[in-house]
C-alpha cells in the first residue's frame, strides 16, 4: 500500500471513530438528561382510583429507555465492527492487488475469477472480524444486557396485555396456563412415582407368591415322598 492510501485509510478510520464516539456521547447525554428529568417524573407515586394501573403504565418508561439504550449501544458496537471489517477488506484488497491493472487481463477486461477472489477476501475479513468481536467479553456483556432488558420489556408487555385486555375480556392468560401446567407437571410426577412404587410392590408380591407356592409344593412333595418312603419301608 502506498503512503497516500495509508494516510487516506487512517483519516477515514479516524473520521468514523469520531462519528461513532459522538453518537455515543450524544446518547449518553440524552440518557442522563432524561433520567434527571422525565425519568424522575415517571417514578412519582400515582394516586386516585386508577393509581394501580397508572403506576404500572408509568413503570414502562424506564423499561423502554433501558431497552432503547441497550439497543443503541449494541448498534454502535455493530457499526464499529462493520467499519473495522470494511477497513480490513480494503487493506487486504490493496495488499493483493495494489494497482487496478492487477485485476485486468491483457485486453483490459476484469478477470471474473478475480471477483471470486475479492469475494473470498471480503468473506474472510468480515468473518474473522465478527468472530473476534463475538468472542469478546465486550460483546458478551452487551448481549447479556440487551437480552436482559428485552426480557424485562417482554415481561412488562405480557403483564399489561393480561391486566388490561385478557382479564377484562374474561380470556385465559399465559400466567394462568402456566399455573395449570405446573399443577399438571406435579400431578404427572406423583403419578409416575406411585406407578413405580406399585410396580415394585407387585413384583415383590409376585416373588412372595411364587416363593410360597414353591415352598408349599416342596412341603407336599416332601410329605408325599415321606409317605411313599414309609410305605416302601413297611413293605
Amino acid at each position: 500500500m502506498d503512503k497516500n492510501s495509508e494516510e487516506k485509510l487512517k483519516l477515514e478510520k479516524d473520521q468514523l471513530k469520531v462519528s461513532l464516539d459522538m453518537t455515543k456521547e450524544f446518547f449518553d447525554l440524552w440518557t442522563k438528561s432524561y433520567q434527571s428529568t422525565f425519568g424522575k417524573l415517571a417514578q412519582v407515586p400515582a394516586f386516585g382510583p386508577i393509581r394501580e394501573k397508572q403506576e404500572k403504565i408509568m413503570k414502562s418508561m424506564p423499561i423502554y429507555t433501558d431497552l432503547y439504550t441497550a439497543w443503541i449501544e449494541s448498534n454502535i458496537n455493530f457499526q464499529s465492527v462493520f467499519t473495522e471489517a470494511t477497513k480490513r477488506t480494503y487493506e487486504k484488497t490493496i495488499e493483493q492487488w495494489p494497482k487496478l491493472s492487477d485485476i485486468k487481463d491483457g485486453k483490459g477486461c476484469v478477470d471474473p475469477e478475480k471477483f471470486k477472489d475479492l469475494y473470498n477476501t471480503w468473506l474472510e475479513a468480515y468473518s474473522d472480524t465478527f468472530k473476534e468481536f463475538m468472542k469478546s467479553e465486550h460483546f458478551a456483556s452487551d448481549m447479556g444486557k440487551l437480552t436482559s432488558v428485552f426480557m424485562d420489556f417482554q415481561k412488562y408487555n405480557k403483564e399489561i396485555i393480561e391486566e388490561n385486555y385478557l382479564k377484562p375480556n374474561n380470556l385465559p392468560t399465559k400466567t394462568e396456563i402456566d399455573e395449570i401446567n405446573k399443577e399438571l407437571y406435579d400431578i404427572k410426577k406423583i403419578v409416575k412415582e406411585l406407578t413405580k412404587k406399585i410396580q415394585i410392590l407387585s413384583k415383590k408380591e409376585e416373588i412372595r407368591e411364587s416363593t410360597e407356592k414353591s415352598e408349599e409344593l416342596g412341603k407336599s412333595e416332601l410329605s408325599e415322598k415321606t409317605t411313599s418312603e414309609e410305605e416302601t419301608l413297611n413293605e
Binding site: 477486461c109 468473518s127 469478546s136 458478551a140 448481549m143 447479556g144 407437571y185
Partner: protein, 365 residues
Amino acid sequence: MNNLIPESHINIIDNDFNKFAKGMEILLKSPDFSVGTTPSEVVYTEDKMKLIHYMPITDEQYSIPVLVIYALVNRYYILDLQPDKSVIKKLLNDGFDVYAIDWGYPSGPDRYLTIDDYINGYIDNAINDIRERHKIDKVTLMGVCQGGTFSIIYSALHPENVRNLVTLVSPVDFNTDKCALNIWAKNIDIDKIVDYYGIIPGDFLNVAFLLLDPFRLLLDKYIGMFDKIDCKDDDICIRNNEENMRNFLRMEKWIFDSPAQAGEAYRQFIKDCYQKNLLIKNEMEIGGKKINLKNINVPLLNVMAEFDHLVPNEESKPLLDAVSSIDKEEIIFPTGHIGIFVGSKSQKNVCPYIAEWLKPRSSRV
C-alpha cells in the same frame, strides 16, 4: 459483445449461471431428502420421549445393546442423516443392537422438567426398559454432545446399569473461552429468559449458533451449495448433483429442526455447567444427590473433533482424569463438531473406531 469480453471470461460467467440454473432445476423437482431412514420401531414412550429400536440387520448381535443419547437441542436423526453416511447403520452392520432416545418437542407442562427428570426419569426408564427387554443388567451408553454430558451424569449416578460409556464431542469442563457460547452463557441472565419464555424457543438457540460465524453460516454456505454443482450433462454428474443437493437439504433440515428447551432443565444446565462449572468439580446436584465423576468406573471412550467450534477439546479432555475407570481412552479426529457424525471421514474412521472399541467390551459377562 464478444469483442469487449474475452471468450474465456464469458465461459466462466456462463459456467456460474449454469451451476445456479442446474441447482434450481434440482430444487424445482422437490427432491426427496428423507432423514432417519434406517428401519426402526418405537418400543417405549413416556410423555414426549420415545425410545427407538433400530431393526437388527445381522443374524446375531452382541448381547450388550447400545443406547444413543442426544442433546436436547438436537433431533435424533443426526446419526442417521443419510442412508450412505449413517453411524447407526454402521453399528447395526457391525452386529450391535442399537436404541436411541428421541426427546420430541417440549411444550406446555414440559417447561417444568428438570435435569433430574431427564436423567433419573426418562433416561433411567429407557435403560430399564432395554435391560428388561434383553434380560441383562447393563447397557452401553453413547452420548452425543449434551447427550454425552447427560450420559456422564447418568453413569456417575447409576454405574451399576452401565457397561460401557462412549462420549462424542461432549462437554464436561465448561471453563473455556475458546468458544463464544461459553463466554455468552456467563453473561446472560438465564432466570429472566426462563421466567419469561418457560419453554425456550428453538430459534432462540439457533440465533446463537448462527452468530458464531454469521457470514459463513448465512451466506457463504448457500453460495457454496450452488458452487458445488457440476455442469457436465452425463448421468453420473446429474446423479451426483442431485445427491449433493439432497444431502445439503438434509443437513439444513437437521440444523433448523430445533426443538424448544424445557425451561427448568435449561436454567440448571446454564447455571450449573456454563456459569458455575460444577460438574467437573463434583459439585453439581441432581435430584438432591451430588454427582461424583469418580463413581464412573466403566470402560470409557471419549471421542473429540479437532476443529470443534461448539465444544472445544479442552471442554471434553478433562473427563479422562475425572473418572476412576481403568479401561479408558480418548481419541481426537481431524474433523468438526458436525463432521464427526456425517462427514466422509466419520464413515471411514470414526464409526469403525467406535465399533472396534465396543466389540470386545460388548459380550455378556
